[in-house]
Structures are given as structure tokens and as C-alpha cells.
Amino acid sequence: MKTDDLIAMLANAAPPVDRRAPGRRFALALLLGLAAAMVLMAVGLGLRRDLNEVVRWPMFWLRLAYPACIGSAAMWLTLRLSRPGVRIGNRWAGVAAPVAVAWIGMAAVLTQVPVDARLALVLGHTWRVCPILIALLSTPAFAAMLWAVRGMAPVRLRATGAAVGLLAGATATVAYCLHCPEISPAFWSIWYLLGMAIPAVVGALIGPRVLRW
């Protein structure tokens, strides 16, 4: 086909563009992912029995803020990465900031306890399952977000995959917070992060394949 013919064809197949469609698509994917993670958590793991009690603890909300902040940063990165030519620069720092704050909290907590009690505090009772459960809960959000991004035009596929994975992990962690029995920052600042990192790494690995267009 001649290039001029292609141009004529494209120009004739150019209805007005709905500029708000991408935003709606991302919002839908986020809601679906969060809802699916909530349902999976409630059915498969169950809500914390003392949830009525713990919602009055500030630490419960701090813990919830951790994945919420990381998730917001990841959402913002995902939105930027799914459009060609939008600079990212050092904006990954938005993800690092909540992690840094939580780790300072962890250090503060650990210095309050005797040395031989520290490891027990970090490992809690559920360190073996926590990251895996978060990764499992993240799968619907992961799929939904990949679907949303595939409707866009990412050009840095590996970075985009990582951002999508991190976002899915953070969404799952928000849901997991309503189940998780651990409340010490010494526990969740590490194991939640690991749980979110698993889908992020998977995203970076499959990004170039899945997001290609």
C-alpha cells in the first residue's frame, strides 16, 4: 500500500476521540481489582475477628496508609508510563518515600525492645505466608490493570510492567490489611513490601511480552 493511501484511509477512519475514556478505564480496573481482592480475602482468609476493635487503633490506619501511599505512587507512575513521551525522571521516589518512612518507624520500634526480642517482632506469627497471600490476592488487580494499560501506548514496557505489578500488589495489601493479625511496623514494613514486590518483579519480567503493541 502506498503511504498516501494509508493516510487517506486513516483520516477517513478518524471519529472524534473521547478524551476521558482512558481515565474511566483505569478507574474501572482499579475498582475491579480492589473489589476482587476484598472478596478473595473475605472468603478465603476471613476478616480479622476483632476488626471493630482495631479500627480504633491509630496503628491500624498507619498500616493501611502504607500500601495506600505506595499504591497511589504506583498508580501515578502507571498513568504516566502508559502514555508515550511523558517523562518519569526520578519520580520512582514517590514509591520510595513511604517505604523510607515505614522503615524509620520500624527502626524506632526495634530500638525500644531488647535485642533478643527483635527477631520475634520482625517475624511475627505469619511471615511465612504474608508475602505469598498478598501476591495471590493481587492477581485480579494485576489482570485488570494490564487490561487497562494495554488500551494505552506504553513505550517502556519493563518499567510499565513493574509499575502495574506494584500497583496490583498495593491494592491486594490494602485488602489484606483487613485480615492480617500483625500490627507491629517491624513486621509489616518488611513483609508487606515483599508481598508487593513479588507482582512488581513479575510485571517487570512479563511486561515486554504482555504489553507489546
Partner: protein, 196 residues
Amino acid sequence: MAISLPMDTDRMTDRLSATETELRHCFVLGLGGDTAQYRLFLDGLGSHLRAYLRRRLPRAQADVEDILQETLLAVHNARHTYRDDQPLTAWVHAIARYKLMDFFRAHSRREALHEPFEDDGRLFVESDVDPTDARRDVGRLLEALPDRHRLPIVFVKLQGLSVAEAAQRCGISESAVKVGVHRGLKALAARIRGSV
């Protein structure tokens, strides 16, 4: 014979922003459903992309039109991803670059290994309306030259590198690059005269 000379930076910037404004105007109207303006945008973009790709693919001129069409199609399919607050140049350049890298990956051309792809943002500087430009023929004639003449010409005259950079890439001395360009151009001229 088309040999591009490095352009004065100020003039380059002016032309760049004039093209940006003009094409962006057509594009935004096109997004609103104005097909005539959209067509103007595609025509203008096509010319710039052609010049850009020809510069990028000195040894794969035959593929230029294919990649051009693929990129135009990609721009068309991705037009809802353009953000009003971003320069159109940056948006289009990212798409063109993505499609070009895709081509390099698929074909593993020697260019991909020898020429790491820099972001010089020069997409809108030159325009090339004519689909069968003379440079294609120069490309073919160049193929016939030995590497010691061809590479200096490709690097210095076609890609606009400095003599020092070209020397580094060819792995020869700067004076050898100058001699290569000189003798190579002479040989090219002889061949062109011979082929006419």
C-alpha cells in the same frame, strides 16, 4: 546528491517550534473529529517521519516506507493517549522511537549494534515529502564502497557525527576518517557520473 549539513542551532529550534505549533493545531482539531485537519496532520507528520527514518536507517532505506506506515498506524491507534499539556514532538517521537526499536529487535540489523539510539529530539527539524528521495540511491552506491570509505561517510556526512566520534566508532585515526570521507566521496562522484 543529498548530504545533510549540520544546521545552525537557533534556526533549528525555530523551525522545530513552528512545526510543533502547526502540527499540534491540526492534530488537536483532528482529535475533535475534523478529518480534513487530521489528514493535514498525517501528511505533515509523514514527511517528517520519512526524513527522520531515512536518517536513522542509512543502510535499510528499503524498509523506511514500511516502518513509516507502521508508525503512522501506531500514532493513529494511540491518538487517545496524547496529553494536552505535553509537546506533540515528545509524544510522536516516543512512538516513532518505539516502532523503530521494534524493527531493530526484529531484524537485529547492524545499525542496532553500531548506533545506540540517542534521543536528539530532531524529529520535526527536517521534512521529506518525496517518497522516492535520491538518498536511497546514494545508499545503494554507498554499499558498493569498502568499509574504510563507507563508514566515515555514513557517520560524518549522513549521521552528522564529529570526526573524532566517527574515528572512535570505526576504530581508526581521525586523519584516516578524513581521508576516508574525501576518497569515498570522490569514488561516489565517479560512480554517479558513471551510472548516469
